[in-house]
Amino acid sequence: MRKKLLSYLLMAFLTMTTLGGCAGGTDESSGDNSSKEPVYGGSVVVGIQQDIDSLDPHKATAAGTKEILFNIFEGLVKADENGNLMNAVASDYVISDDGLVYTFTLRDGIKFHNGNPVTAEDVKYSLERVSGLLDGTVLISALSTIESVDIVDAKTVQVTVGSANTELIYSFVAAIIPQGSGEDAQADPIGTGPFSFVSYAPQEGIVVAKHDEYWQKGLPYLDEVEFKIINSPDTALLNLQGESIDIYPYLTDSQANELQGSFQVLSAPSDVVQALFLNNAVEPLNNVKVRQAICYALDKDSINEFVAGGNASLIGSAMLPSLKDYYVELNDVYGTGANPEKAKQLLSEAGYPNGFELEITVPSNYAYHMQTAEVVVEQLKAAGINAKIDAVEWNTWLTECYQGRNYQSTICGITCDMTPGYLLNRFQTESSKNFINYQSAKYDEVFQKAQSSLDLKEKAKYYSELQQLLVDDAGTAFIQVPPITIAMKNNLGGYKFYPVYVQDMSTVYYTE
């Protein structure tokens, strides 16, 4: 018996070493298919991390939903891959000199998925719906400033707003849907995007098919795209390797290394601001010194190294470095390395000489945030803060943390659109998105000034002031803008990275 056992063990050991020997053999660089000829047709399966919160484009709030709805819906204007606006449902627009009147000209021949042409009535209906003019409920807060939507002629719509705002045009990416279809949008969403809705199964995924009469000639290439919900990042990796999904856009650095060679692994900066969000309303985080101590305790350099392979951009405040005109480099305030002595000193000044217990709630479907959390726990330990991770499901996170604000701290990401105001907007005291309960009268005041300012230089000055305020108050411990790393089958091409959080499938094609 003992001999038998020994031989089993030996066998196990041998397998271990031989398997170990295999590793590192396949280290070809990932192929770039952009030079190969695109082929029309085919279908792909894209792995996504979370369920859809609403199929109604005006009611969807989660970034993970919007990135998919981007394929189905379009606004008067839409984002392009360079972070600029391009005309979509509108073929042209004019903004009056005082910034109060927007005149949109509709594109000729543009059609909804149901075959009906897009009319001025549809545009009027959609804009009135989101701005609350229809039934009093504002669905997109930025557009609540719309005072009236007037149809000038069959192809022209005039929008009058209450106050001028140079960033407002970016909000007209709001989806245009057929007149009166709002009630049915949840069951049968209809838009003008490159793909039309086919089916949706909760917890499973959503299927879209090619919109044959899409206004951009030649797009999309694919006949069908399935977005498949895969809650566990580990399962996603196995699914990729087992070829049951073709594209997975949310890889961690080590996962990317695992897939190098057998997949095309592409990477670009994301539009996500990742932070250790601190609930400013709960003990002991309501003390500014405690929050500062946490900022000092973090070693962002090594987080970057462990989780992003050194490819992330470290940030000190809520702004993307890619928004160059507005970004202020604030990494020096608390440093990118760890400073546990300073943190301890601040903690004892705050009355916590022996540290305290901190609970970090993390949505477990995000491997990136989970791994960051593991590193953060270790770093906080050095400053005497005894942190522990509470991994929760995405829905729990959304209701408890984000909407219920019932948490102590959380690691996750917030996304940005193409405007700097979008990120900073949520830290106003009364903002419904202010899930960290940040309170600063000064901040609110400066934000209002920034919003109403028409001079871009002045606006940039206010925005930099806001970033500085956030950092000085240590409203939250900002960490990084993670890279977005995708894995895609070798025979696919045309994937485009956007500076906004979308998965554009219209340009993806097979090469053979």
Binding site: A23, F306, S364
Partner: protein, 275 residues
């Protein structure tokens, strides 16, 4: 008497199962106890320079994606798993004895109700039931112990109850009752010692099941929370690196096999000794 001891020792000597099991379980216990006080490296200390180091003399089982020493984490993980499993077996065993004894001895409508409840609990797969419990109670090792204890209690209740039913009408119990012995004393002094061998066998099996259940729950991310080490969580973290760092998955996997195998051998050995 001398003959008996000689016989007993001979049984011991010839009992390969017992010795193999004892050696394997002993090693596990030593690792667990030592791991509680000391590990070669810190189980949570990360090192960017040593990520995914293959097994070597420096790191016996290699390192993981954070550059943590896997051998140290396995030591800690074994301790955690064994500790949780022992507590689960203790709690569910105790609950099983009390509930099983009372229902089996007294019978009646309460017995009927309790039995239907245990039927209901048994109707679910144990992992699924554990998942439901965790969702209700919240994750973390305390809640894991509670929920697994609840999941495992019915099996002990059934075994204890059936033994009590068998013995409650035995002549010696009837006599004791006639002599005016109290119910409690009959339950725990007169009957309980006589069902020990049957109960022991079920505890042995239950312990192995508890280890597998704990690993399963941690694997699903609802047991021990990171960065604390647990075998199940290590396995689930490691599955993404099966090709590039197979040692990461093999170490905790083999550890689980080792514990379960060792304990199975040990219980088989003890069973043979009893015969």
């Amino acid at each position: 008497m001398k003959e008996f001891i000689k016989e007993f020792l001979k049984n011991f000597k010839g009992n390969k199962y017992f010795w193999a099991g004892l050696a394997m379980t002993g090693l596990v216990l030593i690792l667990a106890v030592v791991g509680y006080f000391w590990t070669p490296y810190s189980t949570t200390q990360m090192s960017a320079a040593e990520r995914f180091d293959a097994p070597s003399l420096r790191h016996l089982f290699g390192t993981d994606n954070f550059g943590r020493d896997i051998f140290s984490r396995v030591m800690k993980g074994v301790g955690t798993t064994v500790f949780i499993s022992v507590l689960v077996v203790l709690c569910s065993g105790a609950a099983g004895i009390i509930i099983g004894a009372l229902t089996g001895y007294f019978g009646g409508i309460v017995d009927e109700i309790v039995m239907r409840v245990t039927d209901a609990i048994n109707g679910f797969p144990s992992i699924l039931l554990g998942l439901v419990m965790i969702t209700l109670l919240g994750s973390g090792s305390h809640n894991l112990i509670v929920s697994l204890a609840i999941v495992f209690t019915p099996s002990y209740v059934r075994i204890v109850r059936s033994e009590f039913i068998k013995l409650r009408d035995a002549d010696y119990i009837k006599r004791a009752r006639l002599m005016g012995v109290g119910h409690l004393r009959i339950l725990f002094v007169h009957i309980l010692p006589n069902i020990f061998s049957v109960f022991w066998a079920s505890v042995m099996i239950g312990f192995n099941n508890a280890i597998l259940a704990e690993s399963g729950m941690s694997y699903l991310g609802i047991g021990v929370q990171p960065p604390d080490a647990s075998l199940g969580k290590m396995l689930s973290d490691a599955q993404g690196y099966l090709i590039t760092a197979p040692w990461y998955a093999l170490a905790p996997g083999l550890a689980i096999v080792w514990i379960v195998l060792g304990f199975s051998l040990l219980s088989e050995g003890i069973r043979r000794l009893q015969e």
